[in-house]
C-alpha cells in the first residue's frame, strides 16, 4: 500500500495553491495584508469642442493596464450622448455619439489607476514600417544626410534614435536639421526619419502625472523597436526609458481624439493622487477574462458577498480538524460548531454566546417534556424545530421591547442545526448524564468560538477572499492532518498514568 500517490496529490495541491497565490500577489499585486495602503491616481479627461449643429461622433483613445499602473475603474459624464467602449487591435477607445448638438460641448472621462511596481516591459507589437516616405525636393537630401550622420555614430536602433534626436537639439542643430524642422513637427519628423532608416518606431501619447495638476496636455513619446524589445525615448531630450510618473494614454500610434461634426476640439487632463487601503483597491480591479485571473471579483457584488462567507468555511473546517485530530476535543456534531461560528459572525461573539445558551437551555427544557409524549423521532425533531423558532421569535421581540437591538441578530442562528443539537444533547443527558452534556457542550462552544475568532480575523478574511490558491493549500494541510498518527493533546493527559515509571 504505497503512500506515494497521496504525497504526490498533496504536493500538487500545495504547488498549485502556492503558484496561484504567488501569481495573485506578484502579477495582480494583491497584498497579503488588508491594511496596506496603495497609491491611486484619479485622472480626468475633459473634451471640449464646438458642435456644428448636426450629428456628432467623438472618439477618445483610452489607456490600458501597463507596467506601473493598473486601471481600476472608469466613468464618463456626457449628458445626452450615447456611449460605447470599443476595442480595435487591442486598443480601447470610447465613442460618444449624438444626433443633434450645437455650440460648445463638454465630455468627461475619468479613470482610477492603481500604482503598482511592475518593472518588466510588456510586449508590444512593432508597427509596420512606412515604406513610401516621400520628401519634397530639398528635404530628401537633408534627411538622407542626417540619417547617414546618425547611423555612423550609432550601433543599434536605440543609439541611432538618440543620435538623431541630438542632431535636432538646439546647440548642435545643423543646417539640415533646421531645414527639416521648418517643415515638420519634431516627433513626426523623427518617426519619418526612423522609418526611412528601417527602424520600427511610432509616436505614443503619455500623461505626466503630478498631484493636483489641471489642464494638462498629453506629450508625445517615441516608441522605438528593435527585435523583441522596445524603449520609450523622449523626442525632446533623447532620454531613454519611461519616467515612473508617465502614464501611457495611447500606445498604438493612433490619434487620441477624433471629433466628427465639431470643430476646435481639444482634450485636457486633470489628476489627483490619493491613498486607499489595498483591499479597496483590489476590489476595484477589473477582472480580466483570463483563466489565471480566476477570481471571485469577476462575480457581481452580491455573489461576491456570499462567497466571502463560503470561502471562510474551509477555515472553520480546519479549526475543527485541528481541535479533533491534534487536541482531541469532543463536540456535539462534527461541524455544528462551524455553523454556530458563522452565526456568531453575524451576531457578534457575546450576543451570539448568550443567545446560543438561552436557546439551547430553553430548548432542552421543552425537549424533556416532548420526550414524555412518546413521539416518533422525525416528528419530535420537527417539533423541536418549531420550538426553536418560537424561542427565537420570543427572544427577538423581548430584546426589541427592552431596547436591545443586538438581540434581534439571534435570527441568524441555523435553526435546524440548533434543533438537532438540542435533540442530541437531550439524548446524551438521558443516557450519559449532565456531565457529558456539559463536556460536549463546552467542547462545541470552544470550537465554535475558536472557529469564529479564526473566521472573523480581518487578515484571514482578506486572504481567503483574495487568494483562491489558499483554498488548495488548506486542502493539502487538511489531507496531511488526516494522515497524522501521533498523539492528541488530551491523550497526553488521558494516558498519563501509563507513562509513570514503575
Amino acid at each position: 500500500m504505497s503512500r506515494v500517490p497521496f504525497y504526490v496529490l498533496v504536493g500538487t495541491l500545495l504547488a498549485i495553491g502556492i503558484v496561484l497565490t504567488a501569481f495573485r500577489y506578484f502579477h495582480y499585486d494583491v497584498p497579503f495584508t488588508p491594511g496596506e495602503q496603495r497609491q491611486v491616481w484619479e485622472v480626468e479627461a475633459q473634451i471640449n469642442f464646438d458642435a456644428d449643429n448636426g450629428p456628432v461622433r467623438v472618439d477618445l483613445a483610452l489607456p490600458a493596464n501597463q507596467p506601473g499602473f493598473r486601471l481600476l475603474t472608469e466613468n464618463t459624464a456626457s449628458s445626452g450622448y450615447g456611449l460605447s467602449y470599443l476595442r480595435e487591435d487591442n486598443a480601447r477607445h470610447a465613442q460618444w455619439a449624438i444626433r443633434q448638438a450645437n455650440g460648445p460641448q463638454q465630455l468627461y472621462y475619468s479613470a482610477q489607476f492603481l500604482v503598482t511596481d511592475g518593472e518588466e516591459a510588456f510586449l508590444a507589437e512593432p508597427p509596420p514600417l512606412q515604406r513610401d516616405i516621400a520628401w519634397a525636393r530639398p528635404y530628401d537630401t537633408a534627411a538622407r544626410e542626417v540619417i547617414d550622420q546618425a547611423h555612423a555614430r550609432s550601433a543599434d536602433a536605440f543609439t541611432f534614435t538618440r543620435e538623431l534626436i541630438k542632431a535636432f537639439t538646439d546647440q548642435r542643430q545643423g543646417e539640415n536639421a533646421r531645414l527639416l524642422l521648418s517643415q515638420y513637427e519634431r516627433p513626426v519628423l523623427l518617426t519619418r526619419l526612423l522609418n526611412q532608416a528601417d527602424v520600427h518606431a511610432r509616436i505614443v501619447s503619455g500623461l505626466t502625472l503630478e498631484d493636483g495638476r489641471r489642464r494638462q496636455a498629453l506629450t508625445s513619446w517615441l516608441q522605438v523597436f528593435e527585435n523583441d524589445k522596445w524603449v520609450l525615448i523622449n523626442p525632446r531630450t533623447g532620454e531613454q526609458g519611461k519616467p515612473e510618473n508617465l502614464l501611457l494614454w495611447e500606445a498604438k500610434g493612433n490619434a487620441v481624439l477624433e471629433v466628427q461634426g465639431g470643430s476646435d476640439s481639444r482634450v485636457s487632463f486633470s489628476m489627483l493622487r490619493h491613498n486607499e487601503p489595498a483591499s479597496v483597491a483590489v476590489r476595484n480591479q477589473f477582472a480580466d477574462d483570463t483563466l489565471l485571473n480566476f477570481s471571485i471579483h469577476s462575480l457581481p457584488i452580491e455573489e461576491q458577498a456570499l462567497f466571502k462567507t463560503i470561502l471562510l468555511i474551509p477555515i472553520g473546517a480546519l479549526v475543527v480538524v485541528l481541535l479533533r485530530v491534534l487536541v482531541g476535543l469532543e463536540t456535539s456534531g462534527t461541524f455544528m460548531p462551524v455553523l454556530i461560528a458563522l452565526a456568531f459572525i453575524q451576531t457578534t461573539l457575546l450576543t451570539g454566546l448568550v443567545g446560543f445558551l438561552l436557546v439551547v437551555a430553553v430548548g432542552l427544557v421543552i425537549r424533556s417534556y416532548l420526550s414524555r409524549l412518546n413521539l416518533l423521532l422525525v416528528a419530535r425533531v420537527s417539533a423541536v424545530i418549531i420550538t426553536v423558532i418560537a424561542i427565537i421569535s420570543v427572544f427577538s421581540v423581548m430584546a426589541y421591547r427592552f431596547g436591545l437591538n443586538a438581540g434581534l441578530t439571534i435570527t441568524f442562528f441555523p435553526m435546524i442545526i440548533l434543533s438537532w443539537t438540542i435533540e442530541r444533547m437531550s439524548i446524551l443527558w438521558e443516557e450519559e448524564g449532565p456531565k457529558e452534556v456539559l463536556k460536549q457542550g463546552f467542547g462545541s462552544l470552544l470550537t465554535a468560538v475558536l472557529a469564529y475568532l479564526a473566521m472573523n480575523n480581518p487578515w484571514v478574511r482578506h486572504i481567503t477572499f483574495n487568494f483562491l490558491g489558499v483554498q488548495l493549500i488548506l486542502m493539502a494541510v487538511i489531507l496531511l492532518l488526516g494522515n497524522y498518527t501521533g498523539y492528541r493533546l488530551l491523550e497526553l493527559r488521558r494516558f498519563q498514568p501509563l507513562a509513570k515509571d514503575d
Partner: protein, 320 residues
C-alpha cells in the same frame, strides 16, 4: 498531569489517530463493517460458525410491530432490548424481571409498558444507530451470568473484552459495572476495568477513573482473586471471530453464561483504547509482534502463540 509524547511512545501507547489510520484503516475492510455494526447480522453469522450468542426472542422492524413487544416478552422474566446498529452501548435496555404489568430494571427502577414501546420506537427511528439511519430492535433473553463474578459487579453484567488482531488475541480486560457507572460497563462512566493476563485469565490490574484500584468500590471484594474460568475456551471464541468476520482489528465482547459458557455479546470494528489503561500497558509492542507473524495459522496456533508471548504477572495487592 501531562505525559510527554516521547514517554508514551516509549511505553508503546497507541493514540486514537494511530488506531484509526494504522490499524482500523489498514486492517478493517469497510465492506465488512455491516457484519459487526448490525448486531442481527453478527448473530446470524455467529450461528453459522457455531458461536454461541444470547438467545434471540424476536425482532421488531416496523413501528406497527411496536405494539406487540409486550406480547413477545410475556413468557420471559428478563430480557434485553437493543438497537441492531447501536454503538457504544447506546440504547440498550435491560429488564431484569416483570412485575404487575411493569418492568423492573437492574437498578430497581420500574418502567411501564409505554416506556418500553417508546424505547423500541426510538430504536426503529434510528435514534441510537450510526448516522441516524432507520434501525431494527433486537430482543434477547437475559444472560444468566456466572456466579463467580457476583462479588465483582454491581447491578450489571461483567463483560470481557478481547482485542483480536489478525486473529491473535492480543489484550483482554473485564469491565465491572459500579454504582458510579449506573450499572453500565463503560469505563469513562466509572466502571472498573480489570486487565486480564492473556495466558491465564487472571486479573493483572484494576482501574477506575484512570486510577489504580485493588478492589471493587461497591462490593469491596479484592480484584486479585479474580480469574475467568474456562479462559482458553473464551480465547478460542474470540480468536475465531477473525475467520467469521475477516476484520483484522476487532474488539470482541463476551460474557460467561452460567449455562452456556462463553457467549459472544457483540463485535466492535472500532474498539476503544481504554484497554491499555486497564492493563497498564500499551498495545504497540504486541501489535508489532503480531504484524511480523506469517498469515494463515489455525485458531489454536494463534491462541497458543498469544498465550506464550503475552504472559504477565499481576500487580494487584492480594487483599481478601
Amino acid at each position: 498531569m501531562w505525559a510527554t509524547p516521547a514517554k508514551l511512545q516509549a511505553k508503546g501507547i497507541i493514540g486514537m489517530n494511530r488506531r484509526n489510520i494504522r490499524y482500523i484503516g489498514r486492517y478493517n475492510d469497510r465492506r465488512l463493517y455491516p457484519l459487526v455494526d448490525d448486531k442481527l447480522q453478527t448473530k446470524l453469522l455467529a450461528k453459522r460458525y457455531g458461536i454461541t450468542t444470547p438467545d434471540l426472542i424476536g425482532t421488531v422492524t416496523t413501528q406497527f410491530g411496536v405494539k406487540h413487544v409486550a406480547e413477545m416478552v410475556e413468557a420471559y422474566p428478563g430480557f434485553v432490548i437493543k438497537p441492531a446498529k447501536g454503538s457504544g452501548g447506546k440504547g440498550i435496555l435491560v429488564v431484569e424481571r416483570q412485575q404487575d404489568g411493569g418492568y423492573i430494571k437492574p437498578s430497581g427502577t420500574r418502567i411501564e409498558r409505554q416506556d418500553l414501546e417508546r424505547h423500541v420506537s426510538n430504536i426503529l427511528s434510528g435514534l441510537y444507530s450510526l448516522g441516524g439511519s432507520p434501525d431494527v430492535a433486537l430482543i434477547e433473553s437475559l444472560i444468566a451470568f456466572d456466579e463467580v463474578f457476583a462479588a465483582y459487579t454491581y447491578e450489571g453484567v461483567p463483560d470481557i473484552r478481547v482485542i483480536v488482531f489478525r486473529g491473535y488475541p492480543v489484550m483482554a480486560m473485564m469491565r465491572l459495572s459500579t454504582a458510579a457507572s449506573d450499572g453500565k460497563a463503560n469505563l469513562h462512566q466509572g466502571a472498573v476495568g480489570v486487565g486480564l493476563d492473556i495466558t491465564t485469565g487472571t486479573a493483572l490490574r484494576g482501574v477506575q477513573f484512570n486510577r489504580p484500584r485493588d478492589d471493587h468500590p461497591d462490593t469491596g471484594h479484592g480484584l486479585a482473586s479474580l480469574q475467568v474460568p474456562g479462559w482458553d475456551a473464551l480465547l478460542h471464541l474470540a480468536a475465531s471471530c477473525y475467520e467469521m468476520t475477516g476484520l483484522g482489528y476487532l474488539g470482541t465482547d463476551m460474557v460467561l453464561d452460567r449455562h452456556h459458557g462463553p457467549m459472544l455479546l457483540e463485535l466492535n470494528a472500532r474498539p476503544g483504547l481504554a484497554i491499555q489503561m486497564a492493563n497498564g500497558e500499551g498495545l504497540r509492542r504486541r501489535l508489532d509482534l503480531i504484524e511480523k507473524q506469517p498469515e494463515p495459522r489455525s485458531v489454536e496456533a494463534r491462541v497458543a502463540f498469544a498465550q506464550q508471548h503475552f504472559a504477565r504477572q499481576g500487580e494487584l495487592a492480594a487483599t481478601a
